[in-house]
Each structure stands twice: as C-alpha cells, then as structure tokens.
Amino acid sequence: MSKIIIEVKDLTKEFHVGDVTVRALKGVNLSITEGEFIAIMGASGSGKSTMLNILGCLETPNSGSYILDGVDMSELNKDALAALRNQKLGFVFQSYNLLPRTSAIENVELPLFYNNKVDAKERRERAEKALVRVGLKDRMGHMPNQLSGGQQQRVAIARSLVNDPVVILADEATGNLDTRTSYEIMALFQELNSNGKTIVFVTHEMDIARFTSRNIVFRDGQILRTEDVKERFNAVEMLKNLPVADAVETSKS
C-alpha cells in the first residue's frame, strides 16, 4: 500500500459575510495517496475552491484535521505554513500568475528564493531542469508576454515543480486555454503523474476530469461522491485525434 500524502478529517470552514455565515465546508473526509491524480469537481459555491485553499495551506479550517505528508497543519502558525507551502506544495493557477517583465527562468526560480538552503547556483540549475522537463528548453530567457498561454502555463508548472513538492495543486489550470492547449497541458500533467507526482486538479470540465485517475465531486460543502475514472483519457492519444486546423496555436491570452 502506498503512502498517504493527504489526510483530511471532519474538515469544516465558515465564512462571515456581513451578518450571513456561509458554511463552505461541512465536514469533509478525504485521503489521497502518493501517485494519485485527483480531480476535484463541483459547481461554483460547492466548496471546491475552499477545499483547495485549505489543502494548499493558504487557509486554515475552523475544525477538523489536515495532515500533509505527516505534518498536522492545524498546529502551525502563519510563518510555518509559509515554509510548508515552500517545501511541500506546488501551485498552478488558472491565470498562470507569472511575474510580468520577468523571464521564464526567473519566474521558475521564485519559490527557491524563499528557501535559504538553496544557493543562487543551485537555484538556477534546478529552474533550468524544471523548464527542460516542461519542454521549454529554448524559452528560458523569454518574458511572459513573449510566450503563448500554453507556454506560460508550462512555466507555471515548472515553477510548481522546482521545489520538488509532495503534491501539485492546480486550480482550473486549463480554464484559460483552448482545447488543444488544454490537452497538451493535461499530457504534461499525465506524464508528471506517471513519473510519480501526486496531483490535485480542481476543474469543472467533465472532459478534463477524465484525464485524472479519481474524481471527487463536491456539492454544498460536502463530498457528493468519489469515483475512480474507468475509461481514463490519454492526452497524447487525444492530441493525435484532434483536427489539424486546431494545431495552429493562436491563444496568447
């Protein structure tokens, strides 16, 4: 049996908006083992984003426990949470969140800036390696505005890989991309996953969810159902079947 990376028990989270109390999570239990590729799904307001924020240690739950790679995050203060994010987590966002006017390689180096065990030389080497891994060997010096959307997201993925995290958290990572580019990104995620990376992927697109190994569907702050994906899509295969006209990448948003 493989190692459990994420263990969530009876997690609740409430927000106070004016006089109204919004119960975003109402007792969630979840465990994710190493090497899984999870899709968290649900309509907006279902609590999936709150779940991801808590999994990403960006937010603390009101009650319940969350153990990430053996560390109970409910016992940590803000700075320790930052350190935890720095060493155990990788983030990929819908809108890439790259630093503008900053080259790809420097964007990838960013997490290592906050890790004092990594010196400048190692930082550069690791960032280069991560960029090679996402297939941007020739784009290292490019600025974000010189890269297409897909390439920007690859830089973001490289950034999430550079600290060798135990889990990569992706928030609608294909939301801004066209179908072909989405598939390319999913191919990259599948490849990372097949090399052992644990990935948690939030999406509301059914077809994207089918690239993953397990789907967790949220509704009203609770897990509605959990299901293993039976006929899993292979992104590389899917790309071959796409019409050629779509192959011209135009998206630059």
């Binding site: 924020n53 990403g56 960006l58 937010e59 803000k78 700075d79 930052a82 350190a83 994010r85 720095n86 060493q87 983030f91 966002f93 969140n97 630093l99 503008p100 006017r101 900053t102 960013l110 997490p111 800036f113 906050y114 890790n115 004092n116 950034r159 600290n163």
Partner: protein, 428 residues
C-alpha cells in the same frame, strides 16, 4: 512625538532584520533592484523628489555656511586678535548723552592698559574727524583717523607706497598723513603717485607720505579705503582740539588670549576711571569673536530658514516615495499573493518592499548629494557667492534619506505583508 515614532519604527525594523536572517539580504537586495529596474521611469521620477530635496538641502546649507564664512573672513580681516574699547553713554544730570558724545577714553587709559595688561601686545588710540579733504580745485568728504604707529599692525592695513609715520612724527604731531585708495581716486585720479603732495583737511595742510593698500568693502558695504590716516596727536591737537579718543584698538598676544586681554583691560580701565564696585562700566570692550558671533547670528537664521525650506522639499520627496510604494503594493497585489503562496512569509514581503523604498531613497540621496555639491559650486561660480559644502550636511542628508526610506516605506510594506494570500492571488 514624531521622533519617538521614528525610534520605535527603526527599532522594529532592526528586529525584523534580525528575524529575517533566514532569507538573506543579498537576495532581498537583488529583488528590490529587480523591481526598480522593471519600472525604471517611475523609480527615476520617484527618486527625483528625493534628489531635489537632498540637493536643495545641501546647496542651501552650503550657501548659508558660505555667507557665514565670508562674514568671518571679513571680520578677521578687520584686525589681528582685535580687542577694541569704546566709551558708552554718559549721563550728566539725568540726561543721556548717547554713545557718540561719550568722552571717557584718554591717554591715561592707554598708559594704564600698557602697564597692566600683559595679554595685550599692540595698542593704539583711534580718533576720528569728519570733513572735506581738499586738493587744488577738488574735494572729497572722508574721515580722518588718528592713531599711533601700532595701528596698521592691529588693523591689518598695509602701506602700498611710501611709508607710515614714525614715533617722532606722532610725538611731534606732524602734519603728515596716509591716504586711502578711494580718496586718492577722487582727489588725484587713479594711479597717481600722491607721495609728497599736500592736501588740506579742515584747513590743516597734510603732506601725504604713504598710500594705503586697498581692502575693498566690508560685509556691511562700507568702503574701507575711504579714509585718511594721521598721527592721533595731530588729529587731536590740530583738527579736533580735543584730548579724548573715540576708541582704543588693541591686539591680544595671540588668538586665544582675546578674552583674557579683554578682562585685563576691563580691570585696568575700571581702576583708571575710578569706578566703584558695583557701578556700571562707562566703556565697552568688544573682541573679534563678539563681532563674529553677532554677525553670524543673522546668517545662522538665514541658514536655518533656507535649510528648513529645503527640508520640506525633502519631506515632500519622502511622501512621494510613500505614494509610489502604495501604488506599487496595490499594483503588485497578485505578485504578493503568489510570493506568499510559494512560501514567502509576511516578513519576507515586508522586507522586500521596505528595502525597495530604502533603496529608492538612498540612491536618490546619493545622486542628490552629487547634484547638491555640483549646484553649490555652480551657484558659487555664477553668482560669485561664497559656498562651503559641509561634510556634516552631506552625512546628515544621507542619514535623513535612509530614515525617510524606512519611515515612508514602512506603512506600504506593512500593508503588503498583511495581505491575505488568497485575496491577493485573485485580486483583479
């Protein structure tokens, strides 16, 4: 109060600096330089406020200091270690007669000083007459000063042509005089050799034996070359028919002894004037330092005023930095969110922005120092004003800049550090 705030601020900053050691300063510096480079134009314009502020502080202080120095130089050119005694107002039967009518200094006082004041080296009486100097068909209103042979040494006056008068001529009340450049120009024309010529002053004929070297105008705009100088005996007996002195001028033995000389002279004169214990002096003793202090007080006020105005512009520059840092924090909200998501702690963010603002103000400050020094020199050159750039003012401006960077950077930086990473990440 603001000072206290500043202290607390600096102290907290120091604490943060110590705590933040996990992320080294060179990384932070690199980040800050990087951020400034990304917005080159904006950084430059922000710095401009500080540059102008610092440059004007330095230039204003340099002008103020220059005027102080020139006054000091002027006063020291009035004489060597000068200590002068003048009579003060006397009252006869309840009527104040005013300083000009004061008659109390005589040859007796001179002798008393000479006998009892070891700290006095040169000593001369000064008597003064006002009237017209006449040469053939020309005349010129000027002052005739009477003195002894020490006078030229005391007052730092040089003879450019001819000679000064001798002890014998003083004793004999000889009708000889030395002539100032201005009088020469107006009676004879510039460049004429007047030696041996005779002029009349209040109907008394004087033979010119020497020409005084020009000293130009003094700080108060007085022409120091508009005078005739003759033995005091001559002026007293032949022109004024009086036995009193307008003042007694003396030199202390060295520059450190002027105060001592003044004290000794006070003792001697009180004794010679038979003043009772507790009664006021009927004379006034002034040293060169007193003059410097009095004259400097005006330019001190000027310096403070100019400096304060320049200081305000520095403050405005600081507010400019604060403003830009606020804009920068807002603009980079998503960047802050991202940095926090990938492991940046609040203090890392705080330091990043703080160092950025300190860097802005320090770079601006250093440029400002050079601009300020350059501007001072330029003003000195163009306006022919004396300027003195004080190293202290340079150091002060630099420190003020650093403090401004910390002070005005603190609040925007804290705002950045206090952001919620989730909100920051999704900020539009």
């Amino acid at each position: 109060m603001p000072l206290k705030c500043l202290k607390i601020c600096l102290w907290r900053m120091l604490l943060k600096l110590l705590k933040v050691k996990e992320m080294n300063i060179s990384n932070l510096l690199k980040l800050a330089i990087y951020a400034l480079k990304r917005n080159r134009m904006r950084a430059l314009l922000t710095m401009l406020g500080i540059i102008i502020g610092v440059a004007s502080v330095i230039a204003m202080l340099a002008i103020g200091e220059g005027s102080k120095k020139s006054i000091k130089d002027q006063i020291s050119s009035m004489g060597t270690n000068l200590v002068s005694v003048s009579p003060t107002s006397q009252h006869r039967g309840g009527v104040e007669l005013g300083n000009a009518a004061a008659v109390s200094l005589t040859i007796k006082d001179m002798d008393a000083i000479r006998a009892e004041c070891p700290s006095v080296s040169d000593l001369s009486p000064e008597v003064r007459a006002n009237g017209q100097a006449v040469f053939s068909n020309k005349n010129w209103p000027t002052s005739l000063f009477g003195s002894n042979t020490d006078y030229l040494r005391i007052k730092l006056i040089e003879v450019s042509e001819g000679r000064s008068f001798t002890e014998q001529e003083v004793k004999g009340a000889a009708k000889v005089c030395l002539i100032g450049e201005t009088v020469l120009e107006n009676l004879f024309g510039k460049g004429t050799n007047p030696i041996g010529l005779s002029i009349r002053y209040k109907k008394v004929p004087f033979t010119i034996i020497g020409l005084l070297k020009s000293k130009g105008t003094n700080t108060y705009g007085q022409d120091q070359d508009d005078l005739l100088l003759a033995p005091y005996t001559t002026v007293q007996k032949r022109v004024l028919a009086s036995t009193f002195f307008n003042s007694i001028q003396s030199s202390a033995i060295d520059e450190f002894s002027t105060k001592k000389a003044a004290a000794e002279m006070e003792q001697a004169l009180r004794k010679s004037h038979k003043l009772k214990e507790g009664s006021e002096n009927d004379f006034r003793i002034r040293t060169q330092e007193d003059l410097v202090t009095t004259s400097s007080s005006v330019s001190n006020v000027l310096t403070i005023l100019l400096g304060a105005i320049a200081g305000i512009s520095l403050l405005v520059g600081g507010i400019g930095i604060m403003n830009i840092m606020y804009v920068s924090v807002t603009e980079r909200t998503r960047e802050i969110g991202l940095r926090m998501a990938v492991g940046g702690r609040g203090k890392d963010i705080l330091m990043q922005f703080l160092i950025e603002s300190i860097l802005l103000s320090i770079i601006g400050g250093v440029i400002g120092i050079f601009v300020g020094i350059g501007a001072s020199q330029l003003i000195g050159l163009l306006m022919k004003w004396p300027v003195v750039v004080l190293p202290a003012s340079v150091i002060l401006s630099f420190l003020v800049c650093t403090v401004i960077g910390v002070f005005f950077g603190w609040y925007p930086a804290r705002k950045a550090a206090g952001l919620n990473p989730i909100d920051a990440l999704h900020y539009e």
